[in-house]
């Protein structure tokens, strides 16, 4: 067998394995999420199908697949069918670039499906393609509510993409590379990026929540008040594919956060004293970190209510984006003028910025959460109070 064929087959195998792992995780995430949400609301949650409800995802899958696949008369058949496939395809592709261990650590193979020098940039680009799934799905449904919902959701995702991209610029400047392996190895030497870019991490965390359409930014599926948006005309397996894409995106976002800010596939070094080499074990550390972030996603969903749409846009454009820019400027200035001092002053600076933001969160909100574009000349018009709404 020629070398290129062997490499191709191994890559294919890894790709299939990653896809299967992601889909299984998705299936069980739905169950874990429902159980955890239930426990946080002091009830039991689904526990009927199989022991402890463990077969619930299987039952859900069977139900989704055998449910009637509704044909919408006004829909553009091709695009209507393609949209969920685009969404899930992009979501699955994006995850392949994330390294799960040091090079060559998985039975002599590299624990990733593909490794690009553009790394994080390519991944952001791929996840952005998911917007096409949402928008085309809304447009192709041939109905008013889905197209409005599709527009709304694409606007949200594109807006937060800016904040997301800008919030990691400081990190990229520090590392000097966009490849995931380099970022992780940099952290293995200098300490977790969370320490030096805490402000950047906070901004990235918030924009990831908005990017993957999770509470408190889950406007795309706001069924109660906004008729579920682009999902309105979808049912059965197509709807399940959209859900799948959302959950896979959530896993990818967790993996990105773990890789960029929490040392990626490297475990904490202080454990080396107990078991030598433990921090270099592949996969396990990444999985632990992803699990932590997935729990955070569920935890936040159990706690916070939804944003209103105008609040959401104002938050993205008027708070997140300027702050991400400021963080970039701060890091750039530090690297330009004070590189000799080491990294710790930067860590302190970043942390101070974050704490100042927390402390002033009530006062800052008035600056960004003010309705715009409304004439204030007529005093008879009822105006909403500043902030606080």
């Amino acid at each position: 067998m020629p070398d290129w064929l062997a490499a191709l087959l191994i890559t294919l195998l890894k790709g299939v394995l990653v896809a299967l792992a992601l889909l299984t995780t998705f299936a069980y995430m739905t169950l874990i999420e429902r159980r955890l949400l239930a426990r946080m609301q002091i009830r039991h949650g689904p526990n009927r199908v199989g022991p402890g409800g463990l077969l619930q995802p299987l039952a859900d899958a069977v139900k989704s697949i055998f449910k009637e696949d509704l044909r919408v008369t006004m829909a553009d058949k091709l695009v209507y069918t393609m949209a969920p496939i685009v969404a899930i395809g992009m979501a699955l592709t994006a995850f392949g670039g994330i390294p799960a261990g040091p090079p060559g650590s998985l039975f002599g193979e590299d624990p990733w499906v593909y490794n690009l020098d553009a790394g994080i940039l390519a991944l952001l680009a791929l996840t952005s393609m998911g917007v096409y799934g949402i928008f085309l799905g809304g447009w192709a449904s041939g109905s008013k509510y889905p197209i409005l919902g599709g527009l709304r959701s694409s606007a949200q995702m594109i807006s937060y993409e800016l904040g997301m991209g800008l919030s990691i610029l400081g990190l990229l400047m520090l590392v000097g590379s966009t490849a995931f392996v380099n970022i992780v190895e940099w952290q293995a030497q200098s300490g977790w990026m969370l320490l030096f870019q805490s402000l950047g991490f906070a901004l990235f965390l918030v924009s990831s929540f908005a990017e993957v359409n999770r509470t408190p930014f889950d406007l795309p599926e706001a069924e109660q008040e906004l008729v579920a948006g682009y999902l309105t005309e979808y049912s059965a397996i197509k709807w399940a594919l959209f859900q799948m894409a959302e959950y896979v995106n959530m896993i990818t976002a967790s993996a990105i956060m773990a890789t960029l800010f929490f040392g990626g596939y490297r475990g904490p070094v202080f454990l080396e004293g107990l078991i030598p080499g433990i921090s270099g074990w592949p996969i396990i550390w990444l999985v632990v970190k992803i699990a932590f972030f997935l729990f955070l996603f569920i935890w936040v969903r159990a706690t916070l209510p939804r944003f209103r749409y105008d609040q959401l846009m104002r938050f993205g454009w008027k708070l997140l984006l300027p702050l991400a820019l400021a963080n970039t400027m701060m890091t750039a200035a530090y690297l330009a003028f004070a590189r000799g001092l080491g990294l710790w002053p930067l860590a302190l600076l970043s942390l101070l910025g974050l704490l100042a933001l927390f402390a002033m969160s009530d006062r800052v909100r008035v600056l960004w959460n003010r309705p715009t574009g409304r004439p204030h000349t007529d005093d008879a018009l009822p105006t909403r109070p500043l902030g606080g709404d």
């Binding site: 955890l36 239930a38 426990r39 946080m40 609301q41 002091i42 009830r43 039991h44 526990n47 935890w299 936040v300 159990a302 706690t303 916070l304 933001l357 927390f358 969160s361 009530d362 606080g388």
Partner: protein, 184 residues
């Protein structure tokens, strides 16, 4: 609402994660009901004259419950008592006493209208069944001493096990439910 409030809220949800759920796994565990819970009607009897004998039925077939019923769910047909072997203490008794459990709204007006306290709303609620006609309950389904609803008794007869109701009333049945006992 500052970031501190958000953290406080997150703390609350996290602490609830470790609390025992307040809901119960219903069919396996019994649901807890209050004595005032209005469920399936019970036709009560007077205390027995001699031990080992059934007491007389309280219902005298006056149809006041049917008149009071806002859902027209009750049908009563009265008949004269046999003086030697009376069914009820009055002149007449209910030969037919039917309540359509699908129409009944469990408001309790029949209980209020009853001059002898014969029809009383009990605590049973597990009456789901397959056919409309099986949900019209007669005297044989509602007199004191009948355990469970029609489908429950059918299931018990099929499986050979005693009727098991899925609820408990820790404070015991109301005094109006003379002779009725629920699991506590």
């Amino acid at each position: 609402m500052s970031v501190l409030d958000i953290a406080k809220g997150m703390g609350i949800t996290l602490s609830k994660l470790f609390q025992k759920p307040v809901t119960v796994s219903y069919p396996e565990e019994r649901a807890t009901l209050q004595p005032r819970f209005r469920g399936r009607h019970v036709l009560t009897r007077h205390p027995a004259q001699r031990p080992g004998e059934l007491g007389l039925e309280k219902c005298i077939g006056c149809s006041l419950c049917a008149a009071a019923c806002p859902a027209y769910a009750i049908y009563v047909e009265a008949a004269e008592n046999d003086p030697q072997h009376p069914t009820s203490p009055g002149e007449r008794y209910a030969k037919v006493y039917e309540i359509n459990m699908l129409r009944c709204i469990f408001c309790g007006l029949c209980e209020e209208a009853c001059p002898t306290g014969a029809v009383v709303l009990g605590n049973e609620f597990e009456m789901a069944d397959f056919r409309y006609r099986d949900l019209v309950y007669g005297k044989e389904d509602m007199l004191v001493g009948v355990d469970g609803s029609l489908p429950q008794r059918r299931e018990a007869a099929r499986s050979g096990k005693p009727v098991r109701v899925g609820f408990k009333v820790p404070e015991g049945a109301r005094p109006e439910l003379e002779g009725v006992e629920y699991p506590t």
